[in-house]
Symmetry: none
Subunit: 107 residues, 2 copies
DNA sequence: TGCAGTCCAACGTACAAAAAG
DNA sequence: TCTTTTTGTACGTTGGACTGC
């Protein structure tokens, strides 16, 4: 949180103004998961993400998973990842996790 | 944390600005944590220790924790305690805290 | 001032439920 | 059907930020 404190004094008047700025770490509710759009419960592995994507990324990393997208042709690697489809293709889900800048060390 | 306080005074106006900045050399002492070798932020419970070991010791003492090392045979009670392994065995971490002379009363 | 206590976001482990095979 | 794997929630732990003495 940023904190600035200004005191301005003229002849007979003193004004003290305290600014508290909302910064990155402050609690902001209802920010959706950057991977699937579901409701996030805060930051996980560097980005706002839901418990599902957070757990999926954690398991994939800890076990060094390599997934393959089973779609064919132009559809390959382009599976939709939202709350209802996120479990249909692990390859595309993990890809989207990385694209959303998820990382092991929480940035 | 470094703290700079500037006061600028002209004829009829004084401006006081308080900057709170995070500075590099501040809490980063050259003396490492005697338990895990991570950088310490000063003395905690009697010895130079990092925030992690300090918090771990505090929680263990306040809640009278008793941990058991899960290693077998000759390895029992000899788990390596450094920055990357300190969370893998609470028993050995706490043991090392005591061996480094950590104590409740900070002396 | 430095350090102990408090707070809490983010983490890891465990597990019931669901899905896969 | 049965067995194995995966999912996502629950819950305890970690450690950095903050408060107070
Ligand atoms: Zn998600
Ligand atoms: Zn796919
Ligand atoms: Zn330490
Ligand atoms: Zn051990």
């Amino acid at each position: 949180m940023n904190l600035f404190h200004f005191i301005i004094i003229s002849n007979t008047i003193a004004v003290s103004v305290l600014f508290l700025g909302l910064a990155e770490g402050d609690r902001l509710l209802d920010i959706p998961c950057k991977v699937c759009g579901d409701r996030s419960s805060g930051k996980h592995y560097g980005i706002y993400s839901c418990d599902g994507c957070s757990g999926f990324f954690k398991r994939s990393i800890h076990r060094s998973r390599v997934y393959t997208c089973k779609a064919a042709g132009d559809l390959k690697g382009r599976c939709p990842i939202d709350k209802t489809h996120r479990n249909q293709c692990r390859a595309c889900r993990l890809k989207k996790c990385f694209e959303a800048a998820m990382n092991k060390d929480g940035k």
